[in-house]
Every structure is written in structure tokens, then in C-alpha cells.
């Protein structure tokens, strides 16, 4: 019990230092990141690529803009701490492939649309950048991007499609797969490789 208190305290202390006000992340830089990210996404989907070649491009985009292993860890939950180093590594790799496939497929629905980055708002952890996707069919679609600074680098963290969070949805999805794997990360990995 005491050990846990100590660990929580240590984490909080680390968070205090790393979460301090940053100089590099500004409203403009957050907005610029999402401008660039949405341009990258649109240019990939507008190549008309599908299947594996498309997912490979999304894998690159995730790697470039987002802290994939931190997101993977967040979606898995505290069981991460009792997972072996090699399984952690394999899980992160499988997770990365999974979200690239899943969100590659999802964003392909935006083929021929325009993404308008509208505004950015300061939030506790960084910025929330609002954008509006105008689908080829004419219907607008709200996409919000959570942006923060990590080790001096501006990164994208979570994605909200009409208010539905990628991390929240994936935490549920991974939780279900973990249940089906009898709570074993080693058995979750092959499931994850097939999903998405």
C-alpha cells in the first residue's frame, strides 16, 4: 500500500515537471500541426490507395505525428505494468498496425472531401484544435484534435470524430479483445494483428 502511494507520488511529481507550461507549443503551432496532418491524410486518401498500401501510409502518418506507444499503453490500461518487456513491444507493434488499418479505412470515407481547420482552444494538457470536414456528399463532419507537447515536440494525441474519441473507443475495443484473450496480453497480440 505504501509502495503504491510512493509510486503515485513519484508519477505525479514527474507529471508536474513534464506538464509545466511549455514555450514551444502555442495556439498557432498546434493549429499548424493539424493543418499539416490533415493535408497529409487527404493527400494519402486522394491517391485512391486501398488495402495494405493505404495502411502503410497511415502507419507512417501515425508514427510521424503521434506518440503511438503512449497511446497504445493508454488503451491497454494498467495491465501494461505486469506485461513482459517483449510482450509490451509486440503489443505496441500490433496496436500500431491495428489503428493504421482501422483509421485508414475510416478516413478513406473522406475521399474527395476538404478539411477546414477552424480554431484552437487552450486546454489543460495543450490545445484542442477544431476542424470541419466537408464530405464529398456535402455533409459536414466535426473532427477535433487534441494536441500536446512531448519532449519539446508538438504531437497529436487524440482524435474526436463527431465527439467520439479514438482513445476512448479503442480502450473499449482493446478491453473486449483482452477479455476474449482471458486477460493475457500475449494472447491479445495475435487477435489485434487480425483486427482493424
Amino acid at each position: 500500500m505504501q509502495r503504491r502511494f510512493f509510486l503515485t507520488g513519484a508519477t505525479a511529481l514527474t507529471a508536474l515537471f513534464t506538464a509545466g507550461p511549455s514555450l514551444a507549443l502555442t495556439k498557432a503551432s498546434a493549429q499548424a500541426l493539424i493543418d499539416q496532418l490533415s493535408k497529409d491524410i487527404l493527400s494519402v486518401i486522394n491517391t485512391g490507395k486501398t488495402g495494405a498500401p493505404l495502411y502503410k501510409e497511415f502507419d507512417k502518418i501515425f508514427g510521424k505525428y503521434a506518440p503511438v506507444s503512449a497511446i497504445a499503453k493508454k488503451c491497454l490500461g494498467p495491465i501494461w505494468n505486469s506485461t513482459s518487456k517483449s510482450d509490451q513491444k509486440a503489443y505496441v507493434r500490433a496496436f500500431r498496425g491495428y489503428i493504421s488499418r482501422k483509421y485508414g479505412k475510416l478516413f478513406r470515407e473522406f475521399i474527395g472531401s476538404t478539411i477546414n481547420v477552424k480554431s484552437a482552444k487552450a486546454v489543460k494538457s495543450g490545445y484542442l484544435v477544431k476542424s470541419r470536414v466537408k464530405l464529398a456528399s456535402g455533409s459536414p463532419f466535426a473532427v477535433d484534435w487534441q494536441v500536446y507537447e512531448r519532449n519539446g515536440k508538438t504531437q497529436f494525441y487524440d482524435l474526436y470524430l463527431e465527439g467520439t474519441s479514438m482513445i476512448k473507443s479503442e480502450r473499449i475495443a482493446i478491453g473486449i479483445m483482452l477479455d476474449k484473450s482471458g486477460g493475457k496480453v500475449s494472447r491479445l497480440i495475435p487477435l489485434l494483428k487480425k483486427a482493424g
Binding site: 456535402g138 466535426a142 473486449i176
Partner: protein
């Protein structure tokens, strides 16, 4: 002026439905404190309904929507979709007003005036940057402090909550359009919104199919997506307090 257009039957059925909705609202269950924020005491029967809806979607709605998508050209589909949302604007305006949302009300009125020029068939308002705020009576109830109640899944209509169901009934029955148009056209708005839904089902078929068939537990997925989306609409944007913390591990 319009009162002579309202038939006794409509009045009577409207009254019964409103009474029902009021009872439903007043009975909205207040959940015990929960960590997940999801109050789903009827999960077992909801799951049965979900399985039924899924089957219905595979066998009927999906193919119908695909057929609809194949028959109705995108141009016509968009006109139907625009018209359906145009017909919903008077109802939306009433809800803006009931929510004390004056900027929202002016958006709705402006949309009505702008798109009205095209008889609601086109949507120049969106191009002019006048957004659709989607106000409904479920939100109005929330604004006035009615609790969300439990989550449930309806046949065909899918996910809802006690509060949203009551809101849906009131919106449908008290739709101002029903009272303005001659009684012979009552239900026109509903017909168009059904056609619109079929169109949506076709447009976003991949996204929906992915949600329904490609996810490990489509019930939980659908529930989470619905509740998150409703919270987003209620808050008129992403609720900052619910953002994930990138500085903590889990």
C-alpha cells in the same frame, strides 16, 4: 388560422403521446454513482435487441439502403437529405428557444431563410458558414435538468436513453411542421427523414458496417459511440473535462 387544419385525431394522438412522454421523463431513472458513467441496467435485454437490429440491418436495412443507393442517384439523394433537414428546422428553432440559445436560434432562422430560397432542396447555408446545430428535445430536457436515465436500444431506431426517447416522441408529435402543413401531408417530414436515413446508411455504409460487424463487441461499441456523440452535441463541442490526459500512463 391553422387550427382548423389540425384534426381531432391528431390532437388526440398527440395528447396521448405527450402524456406518455411526460410520464417517461418524470420517471427518468437517476443512476447510482458509477465509475464508467454508463447506466445500462437492462444490458441483457438491450443486447437481445441489438442482435435483432443487427440481423435486421444485415437482412433488410443494409440491402435496402444499398438498393436505394443504387437506384437513387447521389444528386437526388442529396436533395432528399437537404429537404429532410430543412423540414426539421422549425422544430429545431423551437428547441433553440426552449434552450435559451439565441445564437443557435438565429443560426436556425438564417438557415431556414437561406435554404428556403431553394425550397430546402439545396444547402447554400452550409457554404455560407451557417452551421446546422441539430437542437432537439432530448437536449432541451437535459438543459432543464432532466437526468439522462438508462441507456436502451430500440428496434430499428437503435441506441437511445430514457431522456432522448422522451425527446424524440415530443419532437415527432409536436413537430410544428405537422401543424402548419395541411393534414393530408402530415408525415411528409417523417417520410423524408426515413429516406434520408436510408441515404445516410448508404453513404456511411463502410463506417457503420465496420462498427457493426468488424468490432469485437458491437453492442458496447455502438453504446459508447452513441453516448459520446450525444454528450458532444449537448456540450456543443468536445467536453474539455473528459479529454484524455497525455501526461498520465493510463
Amino acid at each position: 388560422m391553422f387550427s382548423n387544419l389540425i384534426t381531432y385525431g391528431l390532437q388526440k394522438s398527440a395528447f396521448t403521446a405527450i402524456l406518455g412522454a411526460c410520464l417517461l421523463v418524470s420517471a427518468c431513472t437517476v443512476p447510482p454513482a458509477q465509475h464508467t458513467g454508463v447506466y445500462d441496467p437492462y444490458e441483457a435485454s438491450n443486447r437481445q435487441m441489438h442482435a435483432f437490429n443487427k440481423k435486421l440491418d444485415t437482412k433488410l436495412v443494409g440491402p435496402t439502403a444499398k438498393g436505394y443507393g443504387a437506384i437513387i442517384p447521389p444528386f437526388v439523394d442529396r436533395r432528399i437529405s437537404n429537404f429532410a433537414s430543412f423540414m426539421g428546422l422549425p422544430r429545431q428553432a423551437v428547441n433553440n428557444l426552449l434552450q435559451g440559445d439565441i445564437p443557435g436560434l438565429s443560426e436556425t432562422v438564417l438557415r431556414f431563410a437561406t435554404n428556403g430560397i431553394t425550397l430546402g432542396l439545396f444547402d447554400p447555408a452550409t457554404d455560407f458558414g451557417i452551421p446546422d446545430n441539430d437542437a432537439d428535445f432530448g437536449q432541451t430536457l437535459a438543459y432543464h435538468g432532466f437526468p439522462q436515465g438508462f441507456y436502451h436500444e430500440w428496434p430499428l431506431l437503435g441506441p437511445s436513453t430514457e431522456r432522448d426517447t422522451a425527446g424524440f416522441i415530443i419532437d415527432t408529435v409536436l413537430d410544428p411542421v405537422n401543424f402548419i402543413l395541411p393534414s393530408s401531408t402530415t408525415g411528409m417530414g417523417t417520410t423524408f427523414s426515413i429516406l434520408d436515413r436510408l441515404g445516410d446508411r448508404n453513404d456511411f455504409s463502410d463506417i457503420i458496417e465496420q462498427t457493426l460487424y468488424n468490432s469485437e463487441d458491437s453492442y458496447l461499441t455502438a453504446r459508447s459511440l452513441y453516448l459520446q456523440n450525444r454528450a458532444f452535441k449537448l456540450n456543443k463541442g468536445v467536453n474539455e473535462d473528459t479529454l484524455e490526459d497525455p501526461f498520465s500512463d493510463f
